[in-house]
Every structure is written in structure tokens, then in C-alpha cells.
């Protein structure tokens, strides 16, 4: 294949008309030839500006160089020396605003498809068998990681590779955090998550599910009774935000968290083979326009909805979702009601949603801070008929751990306060990911887990040996 200078090699994907009928993954990934051809586009820059954009410091030119040489095994090794979850990152990192936005190729044409190449290598390894690196002599120090999302998994994996004895405590029956309960199968197959979590466990990390820290065991007890020397909190931003408008508790109104958890974690899309049901009507309104909203809208289509509307109070330019997600949603037939703000949900005599009342919005001129607030247009109210509403307007941190841990400082929006290394106000306790930043990205959560692991390692080594 000829190396193409200005354009990324496209990735084959399921056709929209077909894929809305199934939950299988949409893009197929590069084959070997395309991967090598795309790798050839990388200039292996000495300074490699792309690396600035990667929160977990992947040595991008190194792994791409190894793809060129068809040394896939070594490429995986280079990738995994920094990134414990490459098959996940290759799929869900917002590469366009991370590594790829710094790529020199992006100045004239498309950046190198770093994410797709990362996915290619990681998938190659998952197919050919995963090797576990040699582990150092155990340090005898015990670390508890709370939450098995990307932040916790990364922190745990790194600490294990430094020789510490790590246990992850997870509230759900399955590890992965948003990767298993939020992001749908068609974007991130759960088998991929399972395999990457399996790798973390093979590094020696112990996993204890069905334990809600703060309820089953408190942070204090992790130190006093369970004998841990340090704790990392990566409990994410799991608390759903509602709109606070009338009718939100009607039947057929879901938080995106519930809608996606039923579908993904509990596999309601396979009901009645799986026991957990979900109910989707013919006409579905999804309020919000972030990744969570796009995932909900595309899920609703796959569950059989005929019309799915994104209802968003700002314009297309402000939509926070990744471009690729918006594009996929459009292709699949999701309809966009922009500059539209819901003010009331109405129900029928049985308490089921039957319509959503909205008001049209306009964006005023941006103020000095550059933000423009949408404002309602008078008398522009209208109602449209829907039988399901999914509220996807954001999540905030779950207060369970802060509420049950004395001396753990929290910020205004319930986030745990931590310095750049993730250190909290409690001695021996670090935190990172969405619980510290509020809802953000997989790769930022992983970056935080990685940074904390370094600081925790230093701390653990400074402790007297028992």
C-alpha cells in the first residue's frame, strides 16, 4: 500500500443501516497492511511533539517505528511500558484533542492515526497471547485501590509493577468502572475490557468485588484493620444529575447512568436471556450532547426506538461530544434538536411519559470570558411527543467515600481535593480520576492513576520496613 501523506488511512466499519440493528463494535480496526502503511506516515520526529498530548507518556514514535518493522511483539512491549490498557485507549481516547492534535503531520492534513495504531497493536497482542513482564522483588508494602475504573486499574497496575502488594476494592460485581457500565459494547467490547483487566490481575493485583468502601469497609479500616500502608481513591463521578424540571420521575424517564448500566453492565439488550429489563419506546428524547448523550442515543436506536432526538440547549459548535461520536450518531439517524431546552415532561394517566415541552434558545454574544450563555426565546414553547426520556446532563462525584472518611477535604462540587501528585489531605491517601476532576476522560483518569502511583511508590519506600 502506498503511504498517503495528507490523509489518515480510513478504518473499515459496519455500515450504519446494519449496525443500528446490533451491539457489535462499529469500527473493525486496521489490518496488518493498513497498519504498516499508516505507520509509514509517522516521521519519528526527534522531539515527538505528539508525546506532550499523552497523559500516560506513551513513547509514540517508538511503538509506531516497531510497527513499521513488523516487530509487533516489541511494539506492544514499548506501548505497555507506559500504558496498561492500550486496547481501551486506542478505542476511546479523544485522540484528536490529545496526542494527535500535537502531531506535526496535523499542520498539513491529517495527523498520524496514533489511536488506531495503538488499537491495532493491542488487538494483535490480545489475539496472539498476552505476556506479563518480569516483576521486581516484593517490597512488602500493601496498597488498597478503591474503584476499578481506569484510574484505579492504572494505579494498581503500575504499583504492582513496582513490587507492591495491591488490592482493588470495587463496589460493582464487575471491574471496569465506566468502561463496563457506561461506554456501550458497540464502542468498547466488554471482552476487551475483561482481557485488559485480566492483564492487570496477572501483574499480581488482587481484585475484590462487591465491596462498597464507606459501607462494607471504611478507608480508616483499610489502614487499621486490613493493614494497608497507602490508599488510592478512584471512585469516579457516578452521581447522576437531573434537570430539576417537573415530570422527571415519570415512568420512562431514565438517568443516562441507569439507561446505560441496565444495557451494558446488566446486558438488558439480551433480555430475556439476561434477567434485567429495559424499556424503550418509539420516540426517545436524550437531553444533553456529550459522549454520554451520544452513547445513550445510539443505544436507544439499537434497542428498537424509531426516532431518537438529541435535545441540547446550545448550538452544534458547543456540543461537548467527540466529533467522531456525533458523526456516528448522525449516520445512524439520530436527530438533533439544538438550541432547545426542556422545561417540562408530561405524562399520561398511567404516569408514563408522553411528551416533552421545550423552549427555543438563542446564543447571545460571548462575554469577556468568551462564554456565551444560551437564553430562552419568549413564547417559543413547543411540545413534542416522546415516550422515553434519557437525561444525560452530567455526573458529579459520589459522596459515599468523602462522607465516611474524616479529614478528607472536598471541593465545592464534591470532588476530593488533591495536589498534582494526587495526594489528599489525609496522610497515606491519594486520589485521582473523575473523583478529583469531575467527569473527564479515560486517559486523564489513567494519567492521574499513573502520577499517583509514582508518588505513592516514593512514599511507600520511605516507610520503615516492618
Amino acid at each position: 500500500m502506498e503511504p498517503n501523506v495528507t490523509k489518515k488511512h480510513p478504518m473499515e466499519e459496519q455500515k450504519a443501516a446494519e449496525r443500528v440493528k446490533n451491539f457489535s463494535e462499529v469500527p473493525y480496526g486496521y489490518n496488518i497492511d493498513t497498519a504498516i502503511a499508516e505507520a509509514e506516515r509517522c516521521l519519528e520526529c526527534k522531539k515527538a511533539p505528539c508525546r506532550q498530548g499523552c497523559p500516560v507518556e506513551v513513547d509514540i514514535p517508538a511503538f509506531i517505528g516497531l510497527i513499521k518493522e513488523k516487530k509487533f511483539g516489541e511494539g506492544v512491549f514499548a506501548l505497555k511500558s507506559k500504558n496498561n490498557l492500550p486496547a481501551i485507549c486506542g478505542r476511546v481516547c479523544p485522540q484528536e484533542s490529545q496526542c494527535e492534535s500535537f502531531c506535526v503531520r496535523a499542520k498539513k492534513g491529517d495527523s498520524v492515526a496514533i489511536g488506531r495504531l495503538e488499537r491495532f497493536l493491542a488487538d494483535w497482542e490480545l489475539e496472539h497471547g498476552v505476556d506479563v513482564p518480569a516483576l521486581p522483588v516484593p517490597t512488602g508494602k500493601k496498597v488498597a485501590v478503591v474503584g476499578a475504573g481506569p484510574a484505579g486499574l492504572t494505579c494498581a497496575g503500575d504499583l504492582a509493577r513496582m513490587g507492591h502488594d495491591v488490592t482493588i476494592f470495587e463496589a460493582f460485581h464487575m471491574p471496569g468502572g465506566v468502561l463496563v457500565y457506561g461506554i456501550p459494547e458497540f464502542r468498547l467490547p466488554k471482552e476487551i475490557v475483561r482481557k485488559e483487566v485480566d492483564y492487570i490481575q496477572r501483574l499480581g493485583v488482587k481484585l475484590r468485588t462487591n465491596i462498597v468502601i464507606g459501607k462494607t469497609i471504611t478507608i480508616d479500616e483499610l489502614f487499621s484493620e486490613e493493614g494497608f500502608h497507602a490508599v488510592f481513591i478512584g471512585t469516579g463521578a457516578g452521581l447522576p444529575t437531573f434537570l430539576g424540571i417537573p415530570g422527571e420521575n415519570l415512568l420512562g424517564v431514565y438517568s443516562a447512568n441507569e439507561f446505560l448500566t441496565r444495557t451494558n453492565l446488566m446486558k438488558a439488550y439480551l433480555f430475556p436471556e439476561y434477567d434485567t429489563p429495559i424499556k424503550v419506546g418509539k420516540n426517545v428524547a436524550v437531553v444533553g450532547a456529550g459522549n454520554v448523550a451520544m452513547d445513550s442515543a445510539r443505544t436507544a436506536l439499537r434497542l428498537g426506538a424509531e426516532n431518537v432526538y438529541i435535545v441540547y440547549r446550545r448550538s452544534d459548535k458547543e456540543m461537548p461530544a467527540r466529533l467522531e461520536e456525533i458523526h456516528h450518531a448522525e449516520e445512524e439517524g439520530v436527530q438533533f434538536n439544538l438550541l432547545t431546552n426542556p422545561i417540562k415532561i408530561s405524562g399520561d394517566e398511567n404516569g408514563w411519559v408522553k411528551g416533552i415541552e421545550c423552549v427555543k434558545m438563542r446564543l447571545c454574544e460571548p462575554d469577556e470570558s468568551g462564554r456565551c450563555r444560551p437564553e430562552p426565546i419568549e413564547k417559543s414553547n413547543f411540545v413534542f411527543a416522546v415516550d422515553t426520556v434519557v437525561v444525560a446532563v452530567g455526573q458529579t462525584p459520589n459522596p459515599l467515600v468523602p462522607q465516611t472518611t474524616a479529614g478528607l477535604k472536598t471541593g465545592r462540587r464534591g470532588t476530593i481535593e488533591a495536589d498534582e501528585s494526587g495526594k489528599t489531605s489525609r496522610a497515606g491517601v491519594w486520589a485521582g480520576g473523575d473523583i478529583v476532576t469531575g467527569a473527564a476522560t479515560v486517559i486523564n483518569a489513567m494519567g492521574a492513576g499513573k502520577t499517583a502511583a509514582k508518588a505513592m511508590d516514593e512514599y511507600l519506600r520511605s516507610l520503615p520496613t516492618a
Binding site: F172, H173, G238, T261, R262, F271, G351, P399
Partner: protein, 280 residues
């Protein structure tokens, strides 16, 4: 995996299991609940912690067969395992601020979840006057256990097949009328019963708390499935409850919401993996 240590069939439709779950047993307080899942394909369902033994590391659950999960669970035998068991969840119950009698009303499915609360009052040295009732004799459970922790126990059945012929509310009416000071009434049972009780006590201005049982998924405040309106505000039953001031609860909404999956619940019975097919 969590081992079912002992099993006791309490009635045609009610079963008790002691489950090996030492971490939950150590922490459990009256009023709290667990969430369990039988197997990989199962649904997560909440059940009240009826009792716990920190020394033996066991937690007791008592449930009535109403649908797929509870029917299949009842088919399990001691020595078998279930996939998941997480808790203790929810807030422990609170003790009343005012002096006076405590009156506990448990109807049908509510007898199991009210028992640990009555026992909690009893262990704190308080006098509880308990009223339990069911549609018919076969649905009545825990009579002996309730008697042990109650100052008085009144038993009634709707059809008169056992105890007093009538509703729990009839007995409660006597207590409301006899002029003795009541610190708190606690009512647990099917939604229509709880609604009737709070409407009955409202004119007397007696604090009446109820333990709600909406549909749940995670039980940690993450999904919002369990939301109820209390005093005009949306609350998540799994973290803010499950016990609430009954006079403030929007029962109409709760009744409607609990019917959300009626069709699917019926459909599910035909697909059970335990082979019961929804039949006894």
C-alpha cells in the same frame, strides 16, 4: 461466590437463608439491606438484612416469592452458592426522639423487613407493640420471632384463617384511639398498605415512618432508579433511605414507578434458568 449456609422454608411463599458474608455481617445495622445476584445472567435485587451474626459471619435474608429472581432463589438449597452479595447498604434506622410507645406494623411481604427493626428497638431497651398481618394464614411468617422482641404482638389475617379477622389497620386504630402516647409508628408492607397506614395516622399527627422498596439497580446512589419524592424533593431510596417519613412520601408516584416493568417481569418468568418456569 457467597455460600447459602442454612435454609428455612417459612411458608408456602417465604424462605429464609443465612448467607456467608462476614464483611457484611460485621457492619450490618437494623434497617439496612443488601443487593444480591444469583448468577451471571441474574438481576440485582435488594433484600433487607433480617439478622446478622458477626461471629459466624452470616447474614440472614427472608423473602417472599413474587417474580423470577425470588422464585429461583427459593429453589436453592443450603450448601449452594450465589454470585454476588453486597452491603450493608442504605442508612441504619433511627430511634425516635420522643418518649412513648413504638408501634410496628408489618403486612405480608413487610413482616420480614420489619423484624430487624423491632429487634433493634428491643435490643435498645424499648417497648414495641407489634401488629403483623397477611392475606391468609399461609402468608404469615416470623410470628414466634416477633413475639420474642415485642411487648405485645397482635396477629391478624384478612380472611380470618388465623388470629384476628381483619386488617392491621383495625388493630392500629385501637392504639391510635386509646390515648397512650405514641413515639413513632413504623409501617412496612406492600405499597397500598403503607399508603393506607400513613393516611390513617395523618390526622393524629403521629410520626409514621415507612421502609420503601422501589426498583433498584446499583444501590449506591449511581443510577437514580430508586428515586422517590419525599416532601416535594427527589430522594434516592438506596442512599437517603430506605426509611422515610411516611407522611411526606408521594405514594402515587411510587406505586406507578414500581409497575414500570410489569410486562417484562411476566415475560421473564418464562425464561428462567432454574427450570421453575414461574410455577411452584
Amino acid at each position: 461466590m457467597y455460600k447459602l449456609v442454612t435454609k428455612r422454608v417459612l411458608s408456602d411463599v417465604s424462605t429464609l437463608f443465612e448467607v456467608e458474608a462476614p464483611l457484611v455481617a460485621r457492619k450490618a445495622k437494623p434497617g439496612q439491606f443488601i443487593i444480591l445476584r444469583i448468577d451471571e445472567k441474574g438481576e440485582r435485587i435488594p433484600l433487607t438484612i433480617a439478622d446478622s451474626d458477626p461471629e459466624r459471619g452470616t447474614v440472614t435474608i427472608i423473602f417472599q416469592e413474587v417474580g423470577l429472581t425470588t422464585k429461583c432463589l427459593a429453589k436453592k438449597e443450603a450448601g449452594e452458592y450465589i454470585a454476588d452479595f453486597v452491603g450493608p447498604l442504605g442508612k441504619p434506622m433511627e430511634f425516635p426522639e420522643h418518649p412513648g410507645r413504638i408501634i410496628a406494623v408489618g403486612g405480608g411481604v413487610g413482616i420480614a423487613p420489619i423484624y430487624p427493626k423491632v429487634k433493634g428497638f428491643y435490643q435498645a431497651g424499648m417497648d414495641v407493640f407489634s401488629i403483623i398481618g397477611a392475606r391468609t394464614k399461609d402468608f404469615l411468617i416470623l410470628e414466634d420471632e416477633m413475639r420474642l422482641v415485642s411487648k405485645e404482638l397482635h396477629v391478624c389475617t384478612d380472611d380470618g384463617s388465623y388470629g384476628r379477622h381483619g386488617f392491621v389497620s383495625d388493630v392500629l386504630q385501637n392504639f391510635l384511639a386509646d390515648g397512650e402516647q405514641i413515639a413513632e409508628i413504623i409501617a412496612v408492607g406492600p405499597l397500598p398498605m403503607m399508603r393506607a397506614i400513613v393516611n390513617q395516622t395523618r390526622p393524629y399527627g403521629v410520626k409514621t415512618v415507612v421502609s420503601l422498596n422501589p426498583i433498584m439497580v446499583d444501590g449506591t446512589g449511581m443510577c437514580g432508579a430508586c428515586r422517590v419524592t419525599v416532601a416535594g424533593k427527589t430522594k434516592f431510596t438506596c442512599v437517603d433511605g430506605p426509611v422515610f417519613d411516611g407522611h411526606q412520601v408521594d405514594f402515587d408516584e411510587l406505586v406507578a414507578r414500581s409497575r414500570m416493568y410489569q410486562t417484562e417481569e411476566k415475560q421473564a418468568l418464562g425464561h428462567c434458568r432454574c427450570g421453575c418456569g414461574g410455577e411452584k
